[in-house]
């Protein structure tokens, strides 16, 4: 119990302390801030691992007037996400050693990173719907600061636009989600997520479930981001500093899908079932839409952002199917996208620093020629991105397509099958844009302008992520076995 609270307290206190530390000694504190942040991240990660292993439960009264309690615990669904969050929390700090922040005080930068981590951890840990919402909101302002202050230094209006879009769009989503949560809590009489899941919508009629589910889906769909609510993502990713992009893509987007599992699928099976076809269709449109946009996008960071839209489309598709396979697929794809997008954004962030921009139309030195390590990471990253079997991206996408082909009994089978076929088509588009990027920047014979290969912190982060892509790709059971028990509770399907 103490472990769990400490896992939350460390980023909270470190983050606050760093932000409040004056900027009197900007230069001197650069390295110190990084060190403090690194120590805090590692400590947090250790505690998170301990939490995941020991699975403590925390339950304190917090707002008796609203019936809100500090309820935190871990289960199989949140455990992989927690580990991912903690690991990337370390990774962004290590990576920042190679690329110190510019645009503001480093203490603010590292403080914001800690707070984002706090928000994500609290979101995944919380078992109270309202606390879930509050945690959900914690990440907004730090991320806004990261984008608007530490983002691409060339373009102030774009920074304002991107950070504003991010925060406003997300607030719209989370407020709609809040409305949904309150409706859910009010109509089912409990805010405890486990109790909500256990009730399985008992006592709620179909129309109520549908209204609540619709609110929650739109709200969380914005966060995912689900087509057509995705237009905040590309600018945010393009402008954000590397650490911001990584956290945004790898963790923050996951909060949306995680929320759907917790708040929609489990407690509102009938309402979600009714809306699932629409939801799934949006996901599939996202897959194709994002993929196609990637085919002609010339800003590498935007490209990866659009590919995120496509990848999250698979998650959405898996969630919609209503089967164990689908949920497992979605949860796995969540993690997979977390790892892959983190890898790609670390990579592209570094490239952007080297190139001065992320424009693909400019002739660059071929990565394979001048920086083989970056080249390797790029190849693995995009191979995983196109869903190559044997890498982490494959399992979630394949299983999501499978689940769409054979959805739960209450879904329109024919329609879902059409979606499955379209989703499969999306994988070809993914191959198209992945190879396009490789052809543009990986192969070729140019060796000028030369740049240094990854080394030190940057390389260690990339190498670990490449290894993660491989290991999880070869042994998906690591994640799937963790989630399976709790997933089968949600779908109440008997395993064969």
């Amino acid at each position: 119990m103490v472990i769990l609270l400490a896992a939350l307290a460390i980023p909270a206190l470190t983050g606050t302390a760093l932000i409040l530390t004056g900027r009197d000694s900007v230069r001197a504190s650069e390295a110190n801030a990084n060190l403090v942040s690194l120590v805090a991240s590692i400590a947090t990660a250790a505690l998170v691992v301990a939490t995941v292993v020991t699975r403590p439960k925390v339950d304190y009264q917090w707002l008796p007037s609203l019936g809100v309690r500090w309820q935190f615990s871990v289960d199989g669904i949140s455990a992989p996400l927690l580990i991912l969050t903690a690991a990337l929390g370390i990774a962004v700090v290590v990576h920042a050693r190679s690329y110190p922040p510019h645009g503001g005080s480093p203490t603010t930068f590292y403080g914001c990173l800690q707070l984002v981590e706090l928000g994500a951890l609290a979101t995944f840990l919380s078992r109270d719907a309202v606390v879930f919402f509050l945690s959900f909101e914690i990440v907004l302002i730090p991320m806004w600061v990261l984008i608007s202050r530490f983002g691409d230094s060339h373009d102030l209006p774009a920074r304002v636009d991107a950070s504003g879009r991010f925060v406003l769009y997300t607030v719209l989503g989370s407020t709609l989600m809040l409305v949904g949560i309150l409706a859910l809590v009010h109509s089912s009489g409990t805010a405890n997520l486990d109790a909500l899941a256990a009730a399985r919508g008992a006592g709620l009629d179909r129309s109520t479930q549908m209204v609540i589910a619709a609110l929650l889906l739109v709200g969380l769909g914005i966060k995912i981001p689900m087509w057509p609510f995705h237009t905040w993502l590309p600018p945010a990713h393009t402008i954000a500093p590397t650490a911001g992009s990584v956290l945004l893509a790898a963790i923050l987007l996951k909060m949306g899908t995680y929320g759907i599992v917790r708040l929609v699928i489990a407690p509102l099976p009938i309402g979600f079932g009714a809306l699932a076809p629409v939801f799934a269709a949006a996901g599939v449109v996202g897959i194709l839409w994002g993929g196609l946009a990637c085919l002609v996008e010339n800003d590498l960071k935007r490209l990866i952002a659009y590919s995120s839209v496509a990848h999250m489309g698979f998650v959405v598709l898996g969630l919609s199917s209503g089967t164990t396979v689908g949920l497992q697929a979605a949860l796995f794809a969540n993690i997979a996208h977390g790892v892959v997008s983190a890898l790609l954004f670390f990579l592209v962030g570094g490239l952007k620093e080297r190139w001065g921009s992320a424009d693909l139309a400019t002739a660059r030195a071929a990565l394979r020629e001048v920086s083989p390590r970056l080249g390797l990471a790029l190849v693995v990253g995009f191979a995983a991105s196109l869903g190559l079997p044997g890498l982490v991206g494959f399992w979630g996408e394949f299983l999501a397509m499978y689940s769409a082909w054979s959805p739960a009994a209450d879904r329109p089978e024919g329609f879902m099958r059409v979606l499955a076929v379209l989703a499969v088509t999306g994988t070809a588009v993914a191959a198209g844009y992945s190879l396009r990027v490789l052809r543009l920047i990986w192969s070729g014979d140019r060796t000028t302008p030369a740049h240094v290969d990854a080394h030190g912190g940057e390389w260690s982060v990339l190498a670990v992520l490449v290894a993660a892509v491989l290991v999880l790709g070869v042994a998906p059971g690591i994640v799937l076995n963790t989630t399976s028990k709790d997933v089968s509770v949600i779908t109440s399907e008997v395993s064969r």
């Binding site: 007037s65 302002i141 809040l178 409305v179 409706a183 009010h186």
Partner: protein, 496 residues
């Protein structure tokens, strides 16, 4: 008239009596010893503190708990009844008045304007009105207390004597007069409909079944909404707000934004509670007014370049949030409305306090203009942090958890009554609100322009802020931090 002797319990009436007596005492002392300045303030503060202590007994009472006095011996009806919500509002009004006084604390270096006693006694009088109206249960005390809370503010705005002050005062006055006319008419109609001079549910219940009298009651309620809408700055009764705020001295603007709103809500809640048994349809008007206020307030605030006007429009928007839960007509709604108001008042006072401190250090021109806040985080990190906290609390984003919890609280009854449209409008306005406050915050956080930084070195900042102002900032900030960590401190005031 029969031998109706009312029983007076001074202890219960202390929150009302203390400021009233304080006002009288200030005038008396002024007559006795002129040229005193601090003494007046000390007397006022003492009386406010005494009043605040007097509210303690009424705070956090269980549902149905009420402290009453001025009761009729026969019928047992009381003209003064303070439940926990009323007590909470009283406490807030007294403390807000205290902050106002701290902000207007006389500066020894400046020439006295000679009307210190007038200002202090007017503030106390208006505060007494605000505390009285929260407990008033009959038409007479209700009308008198409301007017007592309003009229002094007109004088307070006008006292500065400047052209803009007069304009603001005129705007305030004319609207106040007409509104009072409407309220008087409303009171008369209430009496016509119910035949009772008491604002109690029992009186309203008697009308339900009578088809001829019910429309009269509805008309009465509509007039109340209109009349109080003026005081709460609800659209379309809001137009005086920016003028009066802009024209008034800053502390008085803070008073208008704080104590006046508390008084208005106190008055409204009494009526709402009285007609709660009649059901929600009566309050469709409130929903419309709330939605309009939020939307227009936020949109107009987005366009303001003067921070005081921005805060004025923000008040309009926040007023919409305050009354929004009342559309649901339940005891939870009354609680929610009160809670939201308290959170709003606390955050707004902090914002005003910071602006006041900046007026003292940087001069009115710079402190009242949005562009003057450029790079504030570098020049005054502490003030900037306090301002940031206040703005985020108003926006309802962590770390301003109080504001966020307030939004949760306010939306709860709305959702519970399934007013989906209103909830969605609120969600959209949450976004607009965030846009408003982040627009300001972005300026605060911006990196200082090199030239402004050089020309105005920090050391050369002529005057530092008055200690009393800093105390006000500190107290408000502390209160906001503490209540953000544990919002139950505020929610608990209003009962469980």
């Amino acid at each position: 008239m029969s031998q109706a002797v009312v029983a007076v319990n001074a202890g219960v009436l202390l929150p009302v009596l203390a400021p009233a007596i304080g006002a009288a005492a200030v005038l008396v002392v002024d007559v006795v010893a002129q040229r005193l300045r601090r003494t007046h303030y000390l007397i006022a503060l003492v009386s406010l503190v005494v009043g605040a202590v007097g509210t303690f007994a009424g705070l956090g009472m269980a549902a149905g708990g009420v402290r009453q006095t001025l009761c009729l011996p026969d019928g047992g009806q009381c003209m003064y009844a303070a439940d926990s919500v009323a007590s909470g509002l009283q406490l807030a009004a007294l403390l807000a008045a205290g902050v106002t006084l701290l902000l207007s604390w006389p500066d020894d270096k400046k020439q006295s304007s000679g009307n210190t006693a007038v200002i202090v006694s007017l503030v106390l009088a208006a505060t007494a009105g605000a505390t009285a109206v929260a407990g008033a249960r009959d038409l007479g005390s209700w009308l008198v207390a409301l007017e007592l809370a309003t009229l002094p503010t007109v004088a307070l705005v006008a006292l500065r004597g400047a052209r803009s002050a007069i304009s603001g005062a005129i705007a305030l006055l004319t609207t106040a007069l007409v509104s009072f006319g409407l309220l008087a008419l409303a009171a008369a109609l209430w009496f016509t409909a119910t035949g009772s001079g008491f604002l109690t549910p029992a009186a309203a219940l008697a009308v339900i079944d009578d088809p001829t009298r019910r429309p009269i009651l509805v008309l009465s309620v509509a007039l109340v909404v209109a009349g109080i809408g003026f005081k709460l700055s609800l659209v379309p009764f809001h137009a005086w707000t920016p003028e009066a705020y802009d024209g008034a001295p800053l502390p008085i603007a803070a008073f208008l934004a704080g104590v006046s709103k508390i008084a208005a809500l106190g008055a409204l809640l009494i009526v709402i509670r009285a007609i709660a048994p009649l059901g929600a349809p009566a309050l469709t008007t409130i929903a419309i007014v709330a939605a309009a206020s939020m939307t227009l307030g936020n949109i107009m605030a987005l366009r303001q370049d003067s921070v005081v006007r921005l805060l004025a429009w923000s008040t309009v928007a926040q007023a919409g949030w305050v009354v929004m839960p009342l559309a649901a007509a339940s005891s939870a709604a009354v609680f929610a409305s009160g809670a939201y108001l308290l959170a709003y008042v606390l955050a707004t006072l902090l914002a005003f306090a910071v602006v006041a401190a900046l007026v003292q250090t940087r001069g009115a021109a710079r402190a009242r203009d949005l562009s003057g806040y450029h790079g504030l985080v570098h020049d005054h990190p502490v003030l900037a942090a306090a301002l940031g906290l206040a703005l985020l609390s108003l926006a309802g984003l962590p770390p301003g958890v109080l504001g966020l919890v307030a939004k949760v609280t306010a939306l709860r009854p709305v959702v519970a009554s399934e007013l989906w449209l209103l909830a969605v409008v609120a969600a959209v306005n949450a976004v607009l609100g965030v846009a408003v406050y982040l627009r300001w915050l972005r300026v605060v956080m911006a990196t200082a322009e090199p030239e402004t930084d050089k020309t105005a070195p920090v050391a050369a900042l002529a005057p530092s802020a008055h200690p009393a102002t800093l105390v006000a900032v500190g107290l408000a900030a502390l209160a906001l931090v503490v209540t953000s960590i544990n919002p139950q401190l505020i929610l608990g005031l209003l009962g469980s």
